[in-house]
Symmetry: D2
Subunit: 361 residues, 4 copies
């Protein structure tokens, strides 16, 4: 095998923090500052988010992606009349599949998981639950939660989001956007603030979970209420769901670094491009089965069974769906073209070997 890449393709949260983030934290570490958000870094962060979205938003900095989702959903649910409202999402959604039941625990709320092939929700899919309306034996749909980019690496177009928001609002629902990798979607849809706004404020989204951790932060997420009236009570809710940072300045500083000069979009664009390059380099390797080219920073190949373990031993990545021998290769803000080239070379080498040992599998 050729030399392994310096950085594996496990996940973007395996990457470290960007130097600008580190510098910002160091700068913030000066003297005393009141806790719980009454600090200059947080005030700056709030302004930066309003600038980015092009409208006055309410920002609530949080620790984690799951935490931001819970704080966003609990606040939004608090604006509903009664605890019998439900959250509508897909079977792939992080809130449904990968948060160990945090929404049900914190909200006491049912998740209605719509089956979806591409991890997107369409207006028609909302129609399929319209019959629940007005029947006391059924939960009442209250919030639609979409993920952008989705857990399958697909990206909603702005018009898809807008159409969904329109239908959701017609049905009396709010729309939450889980943007744990929102930088990658923004990069994929144009790579500027107009792109960000196109699938959020302009499309009618009500509240966003805005991720920093997977995009070069040490650890920082935020709930952005695009409609400030929906933020009522959000500071209490954040505390109640254990997401109020004590020394908030250190989290806000990370966002200040990322938002400065649109660094966050550039990092997202870079990791996207690395996935595209990786896809291109292995697409013709016999045994690598690929779907459509990546829209963001992940590649989901199917591989010959016998190749998976040795390839992973050489350079780590995670399984995606073991039933169909599908794995996930994910790039990060710090993935280099050398990493991609080495990895592609390793894939090519391994899959070109005589596969006498994988017959019949």
């Amino acid at each position: 095998m050729p030399p392994a890449p310096d950085r594996a393709f496990a996940s973007d949260n395996a990457a470290g923090a960007h130097p600008a983030v580190i510098e910002a934290v160091l700068r913030a570490n000066s003297g005393h500052a009141l806790a719980y958000g009454a600090d200059d870094q947080t005030a700056e962060c709030e302004q930066r988010f309003s600038d980015a979205f092009g409208t006055q938003v309410v920002t609530r900095v949080c620790f984690s992606g799951t935490g931001a989702n819970i704080a966003a959903l609990a606040t939004a649910m608090g604006s509903m009349r009664g605890p019998h409202h439900a959250i509508v999402c897909t079977n792939w959604s992080h809130i449904a599949a990968d948060e160990t039941g945090a929404p049900e625990r914190a909200l006491g709320t049912k998740l209605i998981e719509l089956p979806s092939l591409d991890a997107k929700i369409t207006p028609d899919m909302l129609d399929s639950i319209a019959h629940l309306h007005g029947v006391q034996h059924h939960v009442q749909p209250g919030i639609v939660s979409i993920t952008q980019p989705t857990e399958l690496g697909t990206v909603y177009s702005p018009s898809e989001v807008a159409a969904l928001c329109t239908r959701a609002h017609e049905m009396g629902m709010l729309v939450h956007l889980d943007g744990a990798r929102i930088a990658n979607a923004t990069a994929a849809l144009g790579g500027d603030l107009a792109a960000l706004r196109s699938f959020t404020v302009d499309a009618g989204v009500d509240v966003v979970s805005f991720g920093g951790t997977k995009n070069g932060a040490l650890g920082a997420e935020a709930v952005i209420f695009l409609r400030p009236d929906l933020a009522e009570g959000s500071e209490y809710v954040r505390k109640q769901v254990t997401q109020l940072p004590s020394k908030m300045r250190y989290l806000s500083a990370q966002f200040n670094a990322l938002l400065h000069d649109e660094l966050w979009i550039r990092l997202g664009a870079h990791s996207n491009s690395m996935a595209t390059r990786l896809d291109e380099m292995v697409r013709d390797v016999t045994g690598v089965e690929l779907g459509a080219p990546p829209e963001v920073n992940s590649v989901f190949p199917r591989l010959p069974r016998a190749s998976i373990a040795p390839l992973r031993d050489w350079c780590f990545f995670w399984d995606w769906d073991t039933h169909v021998l599908q794995v996930r290769w994910m790039t990060a803000w710090d993935t280099t073209i050398q990493d991609v080239e080495r990895f592609a070379a390793g894939v090519r080498t391994l899959l070109s070997e005589p596969k006498s040992d994988c017959r019949g599998r």
Copy 2:
């Protein structure tokens, strides 16, 4: 010892059902009727409650007192903006002390238990929690829940309730009245519908748990929303908290019997009067320590330690506070004057005996 009473003084929920209630259930048991409230008995019941309160109320029939409290509080909390609101009550309140944590379980909500000597809440006591307001680390008071009559057998005057409602509303809170024994309070405060209204609608109460079970029903309680706008979503909430009766006609019929011709008030007045008579008959017995005369249907004497067990073996009642040798004698709608006379005679006999055996206790 003299002959024991036919009915003990354990509790009003040890009594059976009034014949008129039984008859109403039998009458309701005719043919088919749609479940979940779409039946004639329930329509009649709803009208009867509006008539009794003298205003258009929304009625939600429930199974149990704890259930009605939960349905009332969960619906009212659903009208608050956010899950960070709390319920304010006394340390004696049934919801805090005797419901095995049902409110915290069903609502995920904190109960703020105000210490109270007489189980009542005054406006001043609300002032003691005013400092919580506006601080993100604290729950925000959302609902005041009072019990009428209280768990200690005291009765709020209409002006006391009105003053509390005024202060609560000024502080942005709603007022819930737990009326598991509302008939006894109504009887104590005048014994007619004007009395009922004086401490509920007229005083500014928002939502009532209206008890039937302790007053001659087989088992029937109801949530009465005195402000219909607060009832929004209550049918869903009732179902979610497991309080939606399937064959609702049989519960509604019980209320129809009790509400007819104010039977419920007469039953409450009777049990009150039996407690008054009992208090009068034992007040001069040496060893029986009594506080103020009973306002409703319970007497809380302190007794010599050695007398409690033999008296209970002869005619059952429950301890109230074993630390101070206090017990509770409770009358019911069917307690007879003969029951009271026999019980008083037994108390007198037992306490007049030479107490050589209780020295040193």
Copy 3:
């Protein structure tokens, strides 16, 4: 149209109470009895359930089917180590689809809804969630909840239940059986206590929700812990989830009447036979599309669109799936052969009419 049946085909919970149930309640209404289960009727009821299941069970009488499910699941979940366990059920299950989110509210627990064509769960379907095991981002399957008969009117064979229990137990899960219509399943599987035991105790089920309300009771359900060790804490849990009846004797008496001389099984057998007769009588009517003959007491025909409203106006029943023009006709313990004959005649009459008005629909 011919004369309408005296009883419609809306639901078995639209039927009244059986005379023996009424008599038992009247008998129980004698003098005082301690509340909350310390009464003779409840002791008798507990013994009758142990006799019926042929083993020492723990019985907790509850108000409603949803309530019994919640009490059963909350107690069973309490035996799990940690709040991160989930309940596995089908998308058709009452707990998932028809309880307004009560399980999520009361337990804070995720429901994993397995898609199922016949509303049954097979061992293979459990295998499909085996990958969740041991991953901290996923809820851990804790309880499998099956419904017998299912919400689609199908019946698990004893060996199907046994195979599922074996697999569930191997995976460290408990098995709950929602028996809101357990009488109908018992009747379908042999019609005696051996039949009851064959798909419960003998098959390895851990806890049962035993329904009375849909089978001739005024309103009575029970949680039956087939493994008494699992009942630890169940009396507290029942209270916490608002399902502790105050005057329990009146609910226990209903079960005593139903369990006496296996009345409950006979009632279930009767309603099953009425559904079978109805199916037979309309099967050859043009326009009535039927699947397999009914196993229990419901028929799910598809009807011509134009016939549904007039037929319902004449004799009420509920829609099942409006997308495919499917309705549900349900028989009850008191459905008579005359009711069936009249209804079948009405169907035949209506569907034989010239359908000039439904062209193009």
Copy 4:
């Protein structure tokens, strides 16, 4: 007024991060590392905690103090049989008073708040709730949660903790210790690892919330299960309550810096000594009313009403109890003797001024 101190006395969480913590984070920021705890820093951190406690513990790194408390309590509650267990604490406890109802939200569990003058719980106070045991209408005490040092700045002696643990365990309860400022208690009780162990492992405590944030970290807390068997499921629970850090290495690295060479104890000792010095310097100032000398890093003086605002304007601190004009001055790891001297000088200057303007207040 003299020059204001460089650092105010608002709180120890207003202080920044210690240089050693910053260095550790910088060192950890090298290359890729798997997320969610599968990294070298976390392995080291776990070992360091076992070394510190002198026994094999299970460590779960968390984001915040509230979060660690919730993760600890939810895991411990998960070892109880059933959801009807309650948490016993004081009315002063952070979990009861300052977490916006997070425990009730996340656990659905009642908190029993014992009134306490010094914010400690004694074995006798547990006896006062013994009567709850075995009664289905009452929650059952499951966990005692104490804070060390307490919210009032008092410190349990090791023997006090041991006596409480003994009684709690006799009553079937577990003991949780909220150690948000555990360094200050450790310093106060001897200042070495033996001191730490004396009031935790040696005393019988079951689970500890171990704070780093208030003691020089950027933000890092940990749940330490002193009995590893109690940690079962804790990794799932941590995720479910939104406290699983993605890039955990950066939190673990902070603990590695603090635990190295007992830096954390030295920082605690320093802030304690600064409070002691402050107390000594203002104790003789007329108008400053002080209780017992500080045991840890806070001083709670009562001040003349007119002095509070100008003093705060000059150098910030928080009110403690406005009803009695009591404020809180809190020192931190980085408070200097110069800060203390300047502040004491300011207090002396301000309170020596003619107070013509505060008559009658």
